[in-house]
Symmetry: C2
Subunit: 557 residues, 2 copies
Amino acid sequence: MLYFPDSLNHDEADKKALNTHCLDEQEWQALLDQFISCAGEEDLAGLETAIASDPVTYCLRELNNPIRELTELESQFSSVIIPESPVDAGAYAQHLSENILNQVVPVSSPTFVGHMTSALPRHLPALGKIVTALNQNLVKLETSHILTALERQVLGMVHKLVYHCDETFYKQWLHSSDHALATFCSGGTVANLTAMWACRNQLMPADGDFAGLAREGLARGLMHYGYRGLAILVSELGHYSLKKTVDILGLGQDALIKVDTDKDGKICINALLTQLQKLRQRNIKPMAIVGIAGTTETGSIDPLDILADIAEQEQCHFHVDAAWGGASLLSERYRHLFAGIERADTVTIDAHKQMYVPMGAGMVLFRQPTLTSAIAQHANYIVRKGSKDLGRHTLEGSRSAMSLMLHSNFHLLGRQRLAGLIDASIEKAQQFADLIRQQEDFELISEPQLCLLTYRYVPPKVLPALREGSEQVKQQLHELINTLNQNIQAMQWTAGKSFVSHTCLKPAQWARQPTIVLRVVLANPLTTLAILENMLEEQRQLAQQSPLWQTLHNLIN
Amino acid sequence: MLYFPDSLNHDEADKKALNTHCLDEQEWQALLDQFISCAGEEDLAGLETAIASDPVTYCLRELNNPIRELTELESQFSSVIIPESPVDAGAYAQHLSENILNQVVPVSSPTFVGHMTSALPRHLPALGKIVTALNQNLVKLETSHILTALERQVLGMVHKLVYHCDETFYKQWLHSSDHALATFCSGGTVANLTAMWACRNQLMPADGDFAGLAREGLARGLMHYGYRGLAILVSELGHYSLKKTVDILGLGQDALIKVDTDKDGKICINALLTQLQKLRQRNIKPMAIVGIAGTTETGSIDPLDILADIAEQEQCHFHVDAAWGGASLLSERYRHLFAGIERADTVTIDAHKQMYVPMGAGMVLFRQPTLTSAIAQHANYIVRKGSKDLGRHTLEGSRSAMSLMLHSNFHLLGRQRLAGLIDASIEKAQQFADLIRQQEDFELISEPQLCLLTYRYVPPKVLPALREGSEQVKQQLHELINTLNQNIQAMQWTAGKSFVSHTCLKPAQWARQPTIVLRVVLANPLTTLAILENMLEEQRQLAQQSPLWQTLHNLIN
């Protein structure tokens, strides 16, 4: 049977029939050509090569130009009219290159250490192009087929990394149609939401004349099971996605119980036990205890084993948010920090963090694959019962083949090199912490547990006054130093050479006063200690340029 | 200030410090090299070019090989051990090419017309590579900066397309920090969920001693406002994501009220009114009426203007799920089909459907940008109050720059050509419907309203018996024909030359008996009528090869 009488062109009859309207024949042909080749594509290819072959250098082209204010940039994005007629790819590439992409944030630069986006291994842009071109949709076999099997394998590898179950287990579950060991999703937020969704539904199954929470809803579930409410407990350093989660799931933001942390940013067990008792008194069922394995702000890891014990005693779900830290399980040297994670009912890990793949690769893992039946769904035309369609157990529907990116890292780097990246990042953080300690005008605020740390600038001579001055002076100084550090961070960003982020912590050593800190994430293997040393020097100079500098010195003299 | 003492290499001291552990110095250097160049990358580049320059042909290489059963393929994906040591990019490219990517589904082939994934314009793979390499994270300015402004513009363009508000409106809202005209997300599922999340929270705001649903949860909200429950109403052809939505939001699946459709697959207004009355009697508040602008199964469009009237009367939220059909607003010829959409409070549109961008570009639009305050959130370290971070109003956190893909289509195709694609797809569906009507052994089941239609194979001579036979014979025949069409679809998939999907409808012309139909989506501009004609011939031949063929003929003779 000849399917392509005229290769990829429409035959004459078709053309005539289709082109009587908004486009004339010539325009229609031009449009079809755009699906096969497009005018000016050499220029676009040039831009693509320039960026992909060395995104760091591309982004640093403009390094010495200060970053322009967004409000200033917005003026070029003010029209809401979709252009009527096309420009060619050459003109577009030039526009992108001269007006847009030259002003993106060089997230992969070794001097930009304020976010969780590292440089990526060289092979990934090519994979990104392949994934885009093949445009598989992992929601169902019909649009992904073999990649469904590949995705299950990749998820199985991560499951094994966390839970190290035996061969029999994976033989039974890895390619099971009715359940899932794990699912991919856009990121940690959806991963946390998926885990808590499954947890909530499982907590209130069908029972007698009650058809289950999934069918009848939360209000009737509470009534049937006799609870006044549900709660999720997490340390005060829990990710903001958990607040969204309790909101979306209908529990309400007040149902997220934030537990105090100790001086290392770990959840206080006593405070947790107190909160659990309070909930009991209020007849509120603790639905889940969430352990954090790598807080976003300081990288601290909760005592997971103890949390697992408590969850067991309370008979409540134990979830670990390892969106950031999960990748460190690859390291034989540091995986002991996560002891107890294998007891979690569900775990969140982002591959786009320290597994070094691009944006959009969250995962949620299920210790017991049967848990996914609490959120399984089906329809007539898709994710049918009994099918192996991955969409049966995902919150999202259509999804791209991000799993192929992680597959490529597992093969092109292998566990050892990935572990090497983790080890190096943690040890670099320790070295940077030492470096900060050696400075008389910088103060380390949180010790690195993973490759994150926080610190702040305190001008020389101010520290003694901050420690020993009158209460009033101390308070004034503290606030001024907060603002000074905010200034430093903002000036550094505007200068465009390097980047740290800032956040507000309540450090034990400063009597839990809200304290603005500079935050660095040292995941980028291209970041050297020399770069970090230069950055401290830059911050020192910026501090002296701050309008506050003089005020501060007047105050202590 | 010299930031790069030794360009991108670690200096000697660093190397020594970092490499005492799992990797030796040579391995560490190899690893760093992998971030800058990687061994065998020419082969990977070769594969990338082969795929991206012509994904259709690449995927059709194996066209004449039948598609292998997934269970057979799974055996090569059975290990759950992450490889210890890496392979080089050449070996990996060869593996991908020989064992994996040669067996993906050729979703962009003009003969694969059973799904919503068309061929993509030629320039997009290059953009995919650029987006991957730049790895911007749109959750916040710090990792996206200028692309935040670009994304807001693109969303503004789509907002204008739907709501055509005036210049003053967009001047006020387009770049407003506190609200959003629309947000990007992974797809229609999250878009629908986001819309209904905002709707639910807005329905029960803070009031007296009640702090609002977002804070106190659904159960207390119902109690405070005195409702027994909430409901969302949609036609029985509503997308399965709405069932997930009511489940996730805590309303329960029973809260999704499925309303009958008429012979054209449009929601029956009388049935809707009856359902609304029933809800009133049960003291259940209709939270939202959902109109579908392009059902997944048949492409039918609900009477949006009438639904808008009813929602207004009921004082309930009006949401339009235009995930599929929304792109057709680009067409001057067909946008009249969507009259009333501009009255919707929220609208879902997937750019990865008929706006011809790759997977992962859902959008939810808000008529009143202030609605986003019902779901706004903030944290210390991200999406701070007053910031322009897009993450303040998205369900998801980290997100890639998919908006750049849509931006590129708006510029490289322009509105006219995009409209040309829509017009051509709809008219091709009309022509294919005519073609089906001309066959004595095919039956058109749903008329195309957009570029979707459904039909089935009914052997010659069987149709009269199906219409006029005894009830028993009619029933038997109906079931056999259902199975026959299921067989045809499966055999066609296995043959690997072409693809239609199947679903189960309850067509009015067959007394609403569950009827298996073949479903085609004609969005791919490379699909010709000649291809479709050949496909009917292929299906005819497959029918005759089905084991049921003889059974059926015995029954009528």
